[in-house]
């Protein structure tokens, strides 16, 4: 990669973050790698990106890409509100939010639904592993019913589908991908970065640590060749990562680290992702068949965004001069006349 630069003269190194402290093999690292690749290939200046996150393993991820971008690791479940305020400061900035299944579908469900409803222009990635990692292995709201975890026993509840919630919440771009499918993930990230409005990508991102049936995946081997961005992680003992490859229209059963199986089905090329009702119907049918659909599931590129509602100046609000912010003394005299 040495010496190679993109069209704005930046190397991939200019898009790197700090060394990852996530477990080696964690699906989130693959998301990080695809964020870097997507922004590099799209020639996005790192300074024009703002990274936002909540709390959890997922929310640590923004530290590990694009250290030349501003970032804010906020509060659990409350990244959407933080992003809303921050992105109004300069609406030319590209907002990238990274959240998790606990952060979005449990504690943050309220803010998630409201940020989709407001259609805040930003990429909203959910690194979804069905489990709480930082507190060492509790079920999340997206965990499969019946899933067994070491200390938790069997999950008694039905899962929340983040894609379904996003579409119901009127998000204007909703996709699902898999951290082990770098090509698809990168394409969706690139599309999401170009979307004017909220682009929600639910990324199934297996947790390698809180898996209690670790003999299921011996056939998958961790390889430097497909996780280039993570060379710096060599101090973490190597474990396996999942990688799948399949063609459009095919279904594939993929065993996960936690011992369950999910069925990935790529949407066929004739699927038209612009009809909200059809998207929901398709999700429901897939759900009945126990399939997990990936790809771009819904998009409305014309939906009015939050910024469109406000009559904002071209100059970013945070660059307005003090004299543009304080009304005149004469206007205060008029106000005083009204106070009676």
């Amino acid at each position: 990669m040495a010496g190679k630069v993109n069209e704005i003269g930046l190397s991939k190194g200019d898009y790197q973050g700090r060394p990852s402290t996530l477990c080696l093999g964690c699906g989130h690292n693959a998301i990080v790698a695809q964020m870097i690749a997507a922004c590099y290939e799209l020639n996005i200046p790192p300074e024009s990106v703002v990274k936002l996150s909540g709390i959890g393993c997922s929310s640590k991820a923004p530290t590990y890409f694009m250290k030349r971008s501003f970032g804010f690791n906020g509060l659990h479940g409350r990244m959407p509100s933080l992003a809303t305020g921050a992105l109004f400061a300069d609406t030319s900035l590209i907002g990238v939010g990274v959240s998790g299944d606990g952060d979005t579908a449990s504690i943050g469900m309220g803010q998630f639904k409201h940020v989709t409803r407001r259609n805040l222009p930003m990429l909203y990635i959910v690194a979804n592993n069905g489990v709480y990692g930082l507190t060492k292995g509790q079920f999340s709201a997206t965990a499969e019913e019946g899933l067994a975890l070491k200390k938790q026993g069997q999950n008694q509840y039905v899962p929340i589908d983040i894609v379904w919630e996003a579409i119901a919440g009127r998000a204007s771009f909703v996709a699902r991908s898999f951290s082990g499918d770098p090509q698809q993930l990168k394409s969706l990230i690139m599309a999401g970065l170009h979307h004017k409005g909220i682009a929600v990508i639910d990324v199934i991102s297996p947790c390698v640590t809180f898996n209690n049936q670790d003999d299921a995946f011996h056939s998958y081997t961790w390889g430097k060749s497909h996780e280039v961005a993570l060379h710096e992680l060599s101090f973490v003992p190597p474990v396996r990562a999942i990688k799948v490859q399949y063609a459009q229209g095919e279904s594939l059963e993929v065993p996960l680290y936690d011992g369950t199986h999910i069925i990935l089905k790529k949407l066929s090329q004739d699927y038209e992702p612009t009809d909200r009702a059809k998207a929901m119907e398709m999700l429901e049918q897939a759900n009945e068949k126990n399939e997990l659909v990936t790809g771009l599931i819904y998009i409305n590129p014309k939906q009015e965004s939050l910024f469109d509602i406000y009559n904002l100046p071209e100059t970013p609000l945070n660059r307005l001069k003090p004299e543009q912010l304080r009304p005149s003394p004469e206007s205060l005299e008029e106000i005083n006349q009204l106070m009676y």
């Binding site: 024009s48 906020g74 409350r78 509100s81 933080l82 992105l87 309220g110 660059r319 912010l325």
Partner: protein
């Protein structure tokens, strides 16, 4: 300490007569009584006589009892009076209680349709044929309910000598010049006036005589003042969630910002106001905006404040400027949403987990609500921290007479923000949390700064001077202590206390916020009885050195709190432990503003034993 809240015995108030009296009007919520009450208030104000109004209202849209207290005071006293000289009873459900609100010999006006017992003989009672007068005016049936209250306006206009022209002006103001409602309401008022003129022959000590005392004044509530002050303070971003009694603050911004904050060249708005889904989101958006380099604020009350706890802690620790207006109501819990208290001093001062101590500005007048509106934004950006403005329902929602709003006398302060060219010039190595100037305040950059070295990663977790994640003990300790020093260093920059001295006074009283009006009245009164107290009104926390000096110089200091536990008393005792035994806590908690009578009683008891 005493927490007795009984009112003094029903005797004539020492101030009673021409241009010195109070009216207590009991009505049903949602019956249009606010229009009638404001008409009376504004008409008296227009006649040049100082007047103030307090709405004692229920947490309800329609049907529950509500009271409006008008205090006419040529001497300028605006505190709540314990008992009224005149009571208007329009609500059958409070008929008995309303009689108890009257001084001996007071005037009791009531709707003749109310079937209730007159329990007191020591008052002048007059039944008004409200229904009959309204019928004479022939209102549209939809309006009948709303104009009934204009009857007491007409009767009082007659009995008190209020002039008809200012009444009409008040209605024109209220209905924004719309002829129909003004004419119709005037018709009812005139019929009632006529009825009183023909029927009643009372020799009352209370009446109004025109003066020239309000010509240069305004009549306004604290929330309106705070909203306007913030608009003149250049606020960019407001996020809020409806809650009584704070709602009118952002709503006033929604009304005025589109007029005041339009760029004349482009016609674009220089602000954003967004109603959040809850207080968790309101403060989250404000913290995001503050971090993004916007002057950001929210307004809330106790329950919402509780929800803002965690983001307030983050703002403190990640050093993000935000302003939070707290319009206190009565807690704990949902409490009394429509009544007043000063019970959130402790919660606000230390809002957040771990060691936190915020800057609090505490306005005591509507003028200060305006002033602290812009000042809070300056201080938040200067010290890169959360600044709270602690008001309350009495100040925020009631009508107070004041000097006109004063244009800010200082330019907008944006604090230490580095843009691209500043980063080029800066000599020492910049780090987001590095104290380069030795004043504990680091320099910050904001998103949108395109300099390759501008970015940093903000977080609520441990961090070093360069904002990198750190669990090193020294990093944690140094950073947290620097923040404490930073907040402490703000003390001389915060609004200084207001001190009122009396020659020879050895004892003193300290109060905060909206109790100011009642305190001033009480001090004037006890002075006549030979009890002299110096008075300090504290206007900010952490307290200025002047406050501590004041305490040191007095033998005994009363600390007045409108809360059960004497929260300000506790804070000052901790500030000056060596003087703690000389601090006497006076506490009051019944949901009402403290009256001068109550303060007088408490102090006289203490001073006389």
């Amino acid at each position: 300490m005493a927490t007795k809240t009984e009112e003094p015995k029903p005797t004539q108030h020492r101030l009673s007569g021409v241009n010195e009296f109070s009216i207590n009007i009991g009505t049903v919520n949602g019956s249009g009584s606010q229009t009638a009450n404001l008409t009376l208030l504004r008409a008296i104000f227009k006649m040049g006589i100082p007047v103030s109004g307090k709405n004692i209202f229920p947490s309800n849209i329609q049907g529950l009892p509500t009271w409006y207290k008008i205090r006419v005071s040529q001497a300028g006293y605006a505190g709540r009076r314990g008992l009224a000289d005149i009571v208007v009873a329009m609500n059958s459900s409070t008929f008995a209680d309303d009689q108890d609100d009257l001084v001996e010999g007071g005037l009791f006006l009531y709707d003749d349709q109310i079937e209730g017992e007159i329990d007191r003989e020591d008052m002048i009672s007059v039944a008004i044929p409200v229904k009959k007068i309204v019928r004479e005016a022939k209102p549209h049936k939809d309006l009948r309910k709303f104009v009934a209250n204009m009857v007491y306006v007409g009767v009082l206009t007659n009995l008190l000598g209020i002039e008809m022209e200012p009444v009409k002006e008040a209605l024109e103001f209220h209905f924004k010049g719309k002829a129909n409602p003004v004419e119709f309401n005037m018709k009812v008022i005139q019929l009632a006036y006529q009825w009183a003129d023909e029927t009643l022959d009372l020799d009352l000590p209370w009446r109004v005589e025109p003066r020239e005392l309000t010509k240069d004044s305004i009549l306004v509530d604290g929330n309106t003042a705070g909203a306007l002050g913030s608009i003149y303070g250049g606020v960019h971003f407001v996020s809020w969630y409806p809650i009584t009694p704070a709602t009118s603050l952002p709503e006033t911004m929604l009304e005025f910002a589109p007029k005041l904050r339009v760029d004349p060249d482009t016609g674009k708005h220089t602000y954003v106001i967004i109603q959040a889904e809850d207080e968790l989101a309101a403060i989250g958006m404000v913290v995001g905006a503050g971090w993004g380099g916007l002057r950001a604020m929210t307004a809330t009350s106790g329950p919402g404040l509780s929800l803002m706890n965690e983001y307030a802690s983050l703002a403190y620790f990640a050093e993000i400027p935000v302003v939070v207006w707290v319009i206190q109501r009565v807690g704990p819990s949902t409490g009394l949403p429509t009544r007043t208290a000063q019970g959130d001093i402790n919660t606000t001062y230390r809002l957040g987990q771990g060691d936190t101590e915020h800057i609090l500005l505490i306005p005591g007048t509507v003028g200060e609500c305006f002033e602290f509106g812009w000042k809070a934004l300056d201080l938040a950006e200067k010290y890169q921290t959360a600044v709270f403005v602690l008001s309350d329902l009495d100040l925020g929602k009631n009508q107070w007479m004041a000097d006109p709003f004063q244009y800010p006398d200082q330019p907008i302060e944006r604090g230490k923000i580095l843009w691209e060219e500043d980063l080029e010039k800066i000599k020492e190595e910049w780090g987001r949390y590095r104290d380069l100037d030795g004043d504990y305040i680091p320099y910050r950059t904001v998103p949108g700064n395109r300099h390759p070295a501008a970015a940093y990663f903000a977080r609520g977790t441990g961090h070093d001077e360069f904002a990198n994640y750190s669990e090193r003990p020294a990093d944690w300790e140094n950073n947290l202590n620097r923040i404490k020093n930073k907040i402490n260093s703000s003390r001389p920059e915060l609004p200084e206390p207001v001190i009122l001295k009396q020659r020879g006074a050895k004892n003193a009283l300290i109060a905060i916020g909206s109790t100011d009006a009642a305190v001033r009245e009480a001090l004037d009164y006890i002075k006549e009885d030979g009890v002299k107290l110096n008075y300090l009104r504290l206007r900010a926390l952490p307290p200025a050195e002047g406050v501590l000096d004041f305490i040191r110089k007095h033998d005994k200091i009363y600390i007045l709190d409108n809360n059960r536990d004497g929260q300000m008393h506790g804070i000052l005792s901790l500030e000056l432990p060596e003087k703690a035994t000389d601090l006497v806590s006076l506490t009051h908690i019944d949901g009402l503003p403290i009256s001068a009578e109550w303060i007088i009683e408490q102090i006289m008891q203490e001073e006389n034993h």
